[in-house]
């Protein structure tokens, strides 16, 4: 066959630029943005917050922290913002610039490629900071500190951070089937005992969707963060909890999840990532217990959860849970959210 007369994407035969050139970390990869955009609980909530509360945006200067594809900036521009600065440190910033151009908004949205801590804004102050900074378990790999940095540096007093409230909850579930599949599996792998991996598996939280029917106890509010006022240290905390069984059952795991709220809207808006709400890409965070607890309706698990950034890798999160069932023996469980490197 002869030489091609049509090439893909304008690449010619000598052009060895590849998609890898756009990719220096996982946020440069479009797959994660596709997942986030297709999470309609997440993206539609932001869209509704912005489109239904245009009074917040009209003629205001907005800073979008961790803009990704620029979707929130585009929403703000459509809602009448005077100007939007979309800051994104991954190579996705180059895509965001193209997207802003393609959609005819280069006069309203300026994409800045770089870290919030390092970039310079052409303005001294902004009126609104908007960000979708939440990670698994709210705090894993999150950009909360980046948002707080931006708030302290550029936000006009008493102006708006969106969202401005995030709450972390804990409940307890029956989960025999999945625990067998994920944890007990290692006891007998094609006839071999690999239970040492089981111990490692239990030291990590699982991110997975929990069926609300698995919930055995109440849901306890562990911590609420006021994003407009908190300091970075507030993301390290110890919170006590009391979980009361709502039926006789077994408990295999604690489950953590979070809500976020936009309290500055005309009407309170927000979403929950809990097992009773529509599933999001954050799913829930499952922390398996070494032992299976046998619990009766009305019995209580009391305990505390300590959450802190890992000392070596501050974007990782260390979680320690202490608990006892109706005064019986007290157990300490340590887990860690860490990034595969």
């Amino acid at each position: 066959m002869g030489e091609p007369d049509v090439s893909f994407f304008g690449c010619d035969g000598e052009d060895d630029k590849t998609s890898a050139d756009y990719c220096f970390d996982s946020y440069s990869h479009f797959g994660i943005h596709e997942e986030m955009l297709k999470d309609v609980v997440r993206t539609k909530t932001y869209q509704n917050v912005i489109y239904r509360n245009k009074f917040l945006f009209q003629n205001k200067v907005v800073l979008d922290v961790g803009a990704g594809t620029g979707i929130l900036s585009l929403f703000c521009a459509k809602a009448g913002a005077a100007h939007v600065y979309a800051v994104e440190c991954s190579h996705m910033a180059d895509m965001a610039k193209q997207i802003v151009e393609t959609n005819g908004l280069p006069d309203v949205v300026t994409v800045l490629k770089g870290k919030i801590e390092e970039i310079e804004l052409p303005v001294a102050k902004v009126d609104i900071i908007i960000s979708e900074w939440m990670g698994y378990f709210l705090l894993f790999e999150n950009m909360l500190n980046t948002v707080l940095y931006a708030r302290d540096k550029w936000l006009v007093d008493d102006e708006v951070v969106l969202p401005d409230e995030a709450s972390l909850y804990l409940t307890a579930i029956e989960d025999a089937e999945y625990k067998d599949d994920k944890i007990e599996f290692w006891n007998n792998v094609y006839g071999f005992d690999m239970s040492c991996i089981k111990k490692q598996a239990m030291m990590e939280p699982f991110v997975d969707t929990v069926d609300q029917k698995q919930i055995v106890t109440n849901c306890h509010l562990l911590k609420t963060m006021d994003i407009s006022k908190m300091v970075p240290g507030d993301a390290s905390f110890t919170a006590s909890f009391k979980l009361i069984a709502e039926r006789d059952d077994y408990i295999h795991a604690f489950v953590a999840y979070f809500d976020v709220s936009f309290t500055k809207c005309h009407k309170l808006m927000g979403f929950s990532t809990g097992p009773r709400s529509r599933a999001t890409h954050w799913k829930q965070t499952v922390l398996y217990l070494e032992d299976v607890l046998t619990i009766c309706e009305g019995e209580t698990i009391i305990g505390s959860m300590t959450v802190a950034p890992n000392k070596k890798n501050p974007r990782d999160v260390d979680i320690m849970v202490k608990y006892s069932l109706s005064g019986r023996r007290c157990v300490v469980s340590r887990v860690q959210f860490y990034k595969m490197r």
Copy 2:
């Protein structure tokens, strides 16, 4: 509540060693090993090859290249190997050592932590090299070169590499629905045109399970590799193909997949990762075309596929496909398998 009287996994309150200490790359993470072990097509085939062909292993010295959890080494030990050297460079080697101990096989299986190119074996020669080195698209992130290195350094002449044959195939599919979901999605994202990301998305292969009903043409054998004789350069090649439509349909993508064979077994054994076989964790590799081809039964797509390691990152794979439909215009499509960094 008081101090805990029972701690998890023998960790005491002062021990800040965490699971992250076991993790320096994705192969240190147990999740990927869980997926591979639970791929029964993969693991059961290796188990059957070993257990049903004990004559190959009895009193032989075996080298397991990229041993992971050590499962293949354990199989070989059970099949009567005189000794097995299990080489694993990730921290999973520490787990493999524990697993070998737990299963009472430390006299037969020696786990060596390190790269094949750097470790020293206590023996000058081995009788058998066994490895599960295959990656997506056979060659992505694969350890083939490592296997070939080990073969040339340690394998006694005319002895056994398992598996010893790998073949790459190409076919073409109708895939309107999924292409819309993954590619055309970017045309209109909440009202905005993000088609520049679509271009990027098409420059990458998708790893996904194809329904055999989607197959429109024959399956063409692109390349067979003889692992016992090939040289590393043989993994870079250009192969021509001819795909003949078996019905009137549209074609949205090429699909590549591979088979592996163990020809030294008493009876030929192996498995296929093709869309007509039981799904494996390798799934298939889907290469979308920019245009939709309208093809009639009996019409042919002729073309060639060029496969080579990426120059910058040799574990990435560059793929170029040139094709034309029944002599009509010729198109070049470039895709690249790359690791997220």
